[in-house]
């Protein structure tokens, strides 16, 4: 290899999940599926066609979703390129030829797809037209998508040994599927700190740097990479010196972690003995063991959407009840807050949605209230898990009081159904509301009156309040947790809840930002629900300060005018209280 080839290149992006790793790359999006020819027995043909149709349908759904996003970001005219890809999938001439050949030649679907599409590809390559590049890319893209979908599980088994995944973007499904393998880290061209893939990599303890823009163009499969999930850097072909530096940084962080050993068994209590609840945000039942080990006193947010990954229909009441009951039993006697399906937005939807602006569209409670049968199944399933009285319900995306009242009516109906069936459940199950829409923040007191508790979802609240698309790398640096408007809104919500003698928690990312801990404590937050990985740090901070002092600090913060002033002030407070805290490494917000 030439020196040029081995030159160290440093790319910076969004530090999405902390951690450091060095290892070979695995290029995901560019990896062209390998196609082998296989003869079919005549009785395999129908099954093979079904595989083909399922893969085409799935590819179409994926593309429809990408298309609606592209329309929003690039405009309808530019998004037509993606529309053309969808049209290729719907091309009756092409698909008819493929089906016919599978039947008559008795060959496997991936081979026939590859061979048939290659015919067109060859014709395009023969042409001298300057736009031919674009067209072969489109055709390759869509063919590879179908081939990947036909091969589904095979893709992952090709991940041999430990690697750092480099891809254009990562869907939550990719993140989950890869995490079951030996993944050292994730690096993507697109995506922001609060994208679902980022949330997942944090909870899975896998370092991730997103929004690198051109990582897939610069990285080749097998290149050695260094990934710094704290600083948001991806280093291609790192020098010995760079690797050494990364290891030193990792070492320093590990040392701090050691200081936190044993803290899991201690209460989350301030120096003047104010107790806070410190719980975990979870997506998968598999994370419970780790959350408990980290000292979690409950689940402050159990995301139910993971059940929808890779499914065409909603899971049945029984399937849901089984999962929720298992989670509630594993956590017993600690409380588990089950958030009702928050589908739509950037989350997974089992049905393709065509919305110009999905974040302002049909999602969360809106979907549930529009789909009573689905919602009632869901509520009954949650109720069935509540027999031991440690389950609570959390409603996402509420923007008005009437939605809460309607949800309560459905809850009553679900309870009546179970009474009739004679199934045990908690008759006094608590139901709370996520405050994540600015309207709900304004109406927090009225909403608190209607419910048992409030839980602040900062990720959406901040993006709606500041009008910043957190997944858009062009503006995501303006997503500011310490914007004075955010801080004042948090105060309004917490005070409103307390005026109604209701408990106020926070399950957004901000609850797990060490710089925010003292402020949130001082504002009177009752519960911090955080990613299990940061739980010990947050507890350490809570145990290092007096509530009285935190209140004074929060009062001071409320007088500050800019994000920088607030952040600098809170960082200085933290350094004073905990001089050995490696803040530069723990602060995962944008630098």
């Amino acid at each position: 290899m030439s020196d040029e080839k081995n030159k160290e290149i440093i790319l910076t992006g969004v530090p999405a999940a902390p951690g450091i790793a060095v290892g070979p790359s695995y290029l995901y999006s560019k990896a062209v599926p390998k196609v082998h020819q296989r003869a079919l027995a005549p009785d395999e043909v129908e099954n093979e066609l079904a595989r083909l149709h399922a893969a085409v349908a799935r590819s179409e759904r994926e593309l429809q979703k990408i298309h609606s996003f592209a329309e929003q970001k690039l405009g309808a005219s530019n998004a037509k390129i993606l529309e053309a890809q969808v049209m290729i999938l719907q091309d009756a001439v092409l698909m008819g030829a493929i089906e016919k050949r599978i039947r008559s030649e008795l060959k496997n679907a991936e081979y026939v797809v590859y061979d048939e599409v290659s015919k067109y590809r060859r014709l395009m390559m023969e042409s001298e037209d300057e736009y031919i590049q674009e067209r072969t890319h489109d055709v390759d893209d869509v063919m590879n998508r179908v081939l990947r979908n036909i091969q589904d599980q095979k893709l992952v088994s090709r991940l041999e040994g430990e690697s750092i995944i480099v891809s254009h973007s990562l869907t939550p499904a990719d993140t989950v599927i890869f995490s079951r393998n030996q993944v050292l880290g994730y690096a993507t061209d697109h995506g922001g700190f609060t994208s679902h893939a980022a949330l997942l990599s944090r909870s899975l303890k896998i370092p991730a740097v997103l929004g690198l823009r051109n990582a897939t163009a610069l990285v080749k499969s097998g290149d050695i990479l260094g990934i710094d999930g704290y600083a948001g850097a991806l280093i291609i072909n790192p020098t010995e010196e760079t690797i050494e530096g990364l290891r030193r940084k990792e070492q320093r962080l590990k040392e701090f972690e050691k200081k936190l050993e044993g803290i899991a068994g201690l209460p989350a209590e301030t120096l003047d003995h104010k107790r806070c609840e410190l719980s975990a945000n979870l997506e998968f039942a598999e994370e419970i063991e780790f959350a408990l080990k980290q000292g979690s006193q409950g689940i402050g947010l159990f995301r139910t959407e993971s059940q929808l990954i890779g499914r065409e229909t909603f899971p049945t009441e029984d399937e849901q009840a089984e999962l929720y009951t298992s989670v509630a039993e594993q956590m017993f006697p600690h409380p588990v807050m089950i958030r009702s399906f928050d589908i739509g937005g950037d989350k997974l939807s089992p049905e393709p949605l065509q919305e110009d602006n999905p974040f302002l569209g049909w999602r969360g409670i809106r979907v549930c209230l529009d789909r009573p049968e689905m919602f009632l199944d869901h509520l009954r399933a949650i109720l069935r898990a509540s027999a031991k009285k440690n389950v609570r319900i959390l409603l996402p995306m509420v923007s008005k009081v009437s939605e809460v009242r309607k949800a309560k009516e459905y809850l009553k109906q679900a309870k009546d159904d179970l009474k009739t069936r004679g199934v045990p459940f908690d008759h006094h199950i608590k139901m709370g509301v996520m405050i994540e829409v600015p309207a709900a923040a304004v109406l927090a007191e009225e909403i608190a009156k209607e419910t048992d508790f409030l839980s602040i979802g900062t990720n959406d609240l901040i993006q709606y309040l500041l009008a910043i698309d957190r997944g858009n790398t062009l503006v995501s640096s303006m997503y500011q947790e310490f914007n004075p408007a955010v801080v004042r809104t948090l105060k309004q919500i917490i005070d409103a809840g307390h005026r109604q003698s209701k408990w106020v928690g926070m399950c957004g990312e901000m609850a797990g930002n060490p710089i925010a801990t003292v402020l949130l404590l001082g504002l009177g937050l009752d519960e911090f629900s955080v990613a299990p990985i940061v739980l010990p740090e947050i507890k350490k901070i809570l145990r290092s300060i007096k509530f009285k002092e935190a209140k004074r600090i929060a009062d001071k913060v409320l007088t500050l005018q800019t994000e920088v002033e607030i952040k600098d002030y809170l960082a200085s407070v933290l350094r004073e209280k905990l001089p050995d805290i490696p803040l530069e490494a723990l602060d995962t917000s944008h630098y």
């Binding site: 005219s77 037509k80 390129i81 529309e83 053309a84 049209m87 290729i88 091309d91 009756a92 001439v93 092409l94 599409v117 067109y120 014709l123 395009m124 042409s127 037209d129 300057e130 736009y131 031919i132 674009e134 067209r135 489109d138 055709v139």
Partner: protein
Amino acid sequence: MIEVTVTIRNRAGLHTRPAASLVKTAARFKSEFTICKDGIEINGKSIIGVMTLAAEQGSSLVLRFEGEDEDAAQAAVVDLFERGFDEP
């Protein structure tokens, strides 16, 4: 059966976006629609086929329509070419 000859007017030729518009327009009609260029015949309702044509600005194509609504199909498709697919 109707046969007409058209010339590509838009600068970028019959690339992906115009190809999509063309196939979508043709799909609204029952008639068979064939495009001939340099001795190659492709099905005008197949996007991948149309993309294969790689017809650049100034090139001529023979369009063939056959079926019950061939007049209407011809009018709609030719109109699209005349408008240069609403592109520069």
